[in-house]
Symmetry: C2
Amino acid sequence: MSVKAEQRSVSEVSVIQIMPSWSSGPSKTAILTFIDEVCKEGGESYVRPEDRIAVFDNDGTLWAEQPIYFQALYAFDRVKEMAPQHPEWKEREPFRSVLAGDLKKALSGGEKSLLEIVKVTHSGMTTEEFAASVRKWIDSAKHPQTGVPIKEMVYQPMLELLDTMRKWGFKTYIVSGGGIDFMRVFSEEVYGIPPEQVIGSSVEVKFELRDGVPVIVREPKVGFIDDKEGKPVGIHTHIGKRPIAAFGNSDGDLQMLQWTAAGDGKRLCVYIHHTDAEREWAYDRDSHIGKLDKGLDEAKAKGWTVVDMKEEWNKIFK
Amino acid sequence: MSVKAEQRSVSEVSVIQIMPSWSSGPSKTAILTFIDEVCKEGGESYVRPEDRIAVFDNDGTLWAEQPIYFQALYAFDRVKEMAPQHPEWKEREPFRSVLAGDLKKALSGGEKSLLEIVKVTHSGMTTEEFAASVRKWIDSAKHPQTGVPIKEMVYQPMLELLDTMRKWGFKTYIVSGGGIDFMRVFSEEVYGIPPEQVIGSSVEVKFELRDGVPVIVREPKVGFIDDKEGKPVGIHTHIGKRPIAAFGNSDGDLQMLQWTAAGDGKRLCVYIHHTDAEREWAYDRDSHIGKLDKGLDEAKAKGWTVVDMKEEWNKIFK
């Protein structure tokens, strides 16, 4: 699709040409109809380009999240890297189990264990040191089951969707429970989303002068949690406008979709439903990761778009 | 200046045409030289457009701040508006003095009194109700001494500077101790800066469903303070990149300028020095508002640009 497409309305472009990894199902129709309507100058659903804000969850929406959030894999690798300086970890959970390779046991304490690991492995350094560490990791890390580089475990249909929305003047944001400074390292390269359009969870940071050199230091203290009720709050804090389109895949995205849906005028709320056990993973109401239960009910009740990955995506990964 | 100017380098455009409210002094030269160097493709100081981040303090840098921060005037008007629902304020400081019109006494408790007033007057409503209240105020409020509408108490030379930097591909941000949601109401109209490029102080906010309708509610609790050490933190949180140009007018901006200056490559750090008692106000080291003391010393020591308002600005207000 040439850049000139921006000048045309979506309906003037062959639907086959746009987002080729999407089959001609109800989701693709709903998305393209929405884009067409809000971009039609003079139309009753017209939205000015500056208000075309679209927000995307990351884990399970833009890239995969099974068998565990990829950022946890980074944290585990950091535990191993840091272990020589922490002999006490040999006796202390959840670190002991991470070092023994027993991830199931390491995470048996649930979210609390994961936060404990993240706090320790994501702090005690400057923001620049952290970015360098993530950069090194993301450039080499491979998925534990598929062996594919982590940064290629991204959904091709979503890359095409991001690209299409941007071509029609949307500003695309990531709004994820993942770490804001973690995602910012690769968001531009992987998704074409610049750091300033990434919203996520954070540890507390502190400015200080070290021998006269200003640094921002990451503290071992959880700051903002950009999940569930936190997502509309993160959106408000960072953007200050209500999105007109929102994409998620779990109950953690429900409040973001509710907040988006409740604005005036045309809205697009989309759930990506993981239905393809062969090419990806199939999970929803009972999953330990990316649980989609209340969200699925609300999507049905409110007529939101639910993407059936198995039926509607010709291709899954990049 | 036509939009085509973007294609030319700054040095190809007549200096008289650019930023006409600036006299041909050292500050204008320093600013235009910087823009020219970082935009010169192939030059050793070239910076990609996506990294051309420029940050601006608001009070005292983009608009005036004497005799008191304008947001405090809004807060005082809110106290009067809310007084009928708060009979206890008649006996309670600092509200008693605000209602009696004795602002000096109201603020005798310093920053703590002001925060107490802001907390109460800026909370207990949804974000949309707050925005509507600020909108109503900013559209009618006048300066207590000049009688000029508050939103015209902005510096014409800075408007021209913002415009020039944007034409050469800079992304301009406000980074202010003022309230983020207060400034966002008028930042686009007054400065051409969209809400998502405004960084400021905040109260805590909370997402909730009210009879099924999602709202974001402002709590009477101070959240983030975007001043001094908070400014580099706010920049990091919202932008995730280090600016290459920073503009301030007080010691509250010092850390933002230090953080900007300490990056690699060409940097521009500018202090606006209030030297014009006739056309504006003259104040620096001993001022109760916008105190510029350590910052002035550091600017001199490090060779930062200090704008002499009296000598270098042909015109002050819009």
